[in-house]
Amino acid sequence: MNGPHDMGGMHGMGPIPIEENEPVFHSEWEAKVFAMSFATFINYFPVDETRHASERMPPGDYLSSSYYERWLYALELLLTEHHLVTPAEIEARIVELAQSES
């Protein structure tokens, strides 16, 4: 499939963002997205499906998201497509957590 992920040779992406002494994860949510993806793609869907899911991200979103934002998109898409969680459950839980935190 042709898409924004087919990046070889694309122009205009600027300098290489080199970060010295970079941590493995830049935040707790990145680590959690990685771990939840890893745990589910071993047990519920193959890793290739995860990659394909991130390639199905709309091109504008793909190009303006960070690496783990794309992983989060793929995770959510697969969790809902495989009927493990519904989009409504996610939105409801976000509201609940936001209320309990405020």
Partner: protein
């Protein structure tokens, strides 16, 4: 990364927390498993594993020949195969050839051997540019490849991952395999650096010190 974010970090963090609580509640993921996965990739798996393979190849010519002929098999001899490194091709740097690894389509990388890839490897800039202007990209890493040296760029994919066997630096004849391994950096095994002899390591690397 250079990209802007649609969503503030706090919003994403909350979304991730919501998904995590649902998955835990439904018994789809176990919190301890999540901690183990994070610990594995933060503390257990990393470039020190690849460095062992490189140092072994430097001191053992037969192993090196097997490694270059069939990377997957030679690496499994050392018991160092693992997830995302099931099929490995090892490419050797020589005075004539400098190898460089990328994954233009996503960020395929030999996790079991090098750990998770750095942000620059996953960046749009690296993925797009390295296949059309590898020498310029290498200059941004402070690595100048002489024009008589051929640069070969290897594009990884979901099933096949690469590892660069860097050149052994000069004046390291007296070093042990473990000492040699300590010289080998992650970037050297991707091809965005060379391995420096220990005398150079003790000097401050001017271009690497931020102001």
């Amino acid at each position: 990364m250079t990209s802007h974010h649609h969503h503030p970090e706090a919003e994403i963090a909350l979304r991730v927390k919501a998904i995590e609580s649902l998955l835990v509640e439904k018994g789809i993921v176990d919190p301890e498993t999540l901690d183990t996965i994070i610990d594995t990739y933060e503390h257990q798996v990393g470039p020190h594993i690849g460095a062992q393979i490189v140092a072994k190849a430097w001191v053992d010519a037969d192993f090196k020949a097997r490694l270059l002929a069939d990377g997957t098999r030679a690496i499994s001899e050392l018991g160092l195969t693992g997830f995302s490194s099931e099929h490995m091709v090892v490419v050797e740097n020589t005075p004539e050839v400098h190898n460089l690894i990328v994954c233009t389509l996503c960020s395929c990388y030999p996790w079991a051997i090098l750990g998770l890839p750095p942000t620059w490897y996953k960046s749009f800039a690296y993925r797009s540019r390295v296949v059309i202007e590898p020498r310029k990209v290498l200059q941004e890493f402070g690595l100048e490849i002489p024009s008589h040296v051929e640069v070969r760029v290897w594009d990884s994919n979901a099933d096949l991952r690469y590892l660069v066997l860097p050149e052994r630096p000069a004046d390291t004849e007296d070093m042990s395999e473990a000492e040699l391994a300590s010289l080998v950096t992650r970037n050297a095994m991707i091809g965005t650096a060379n391995v420096h002899p220990p005398t150079l390591l003790t000097q401050p690397a001017a271009q690497e010190v931020s102001p």
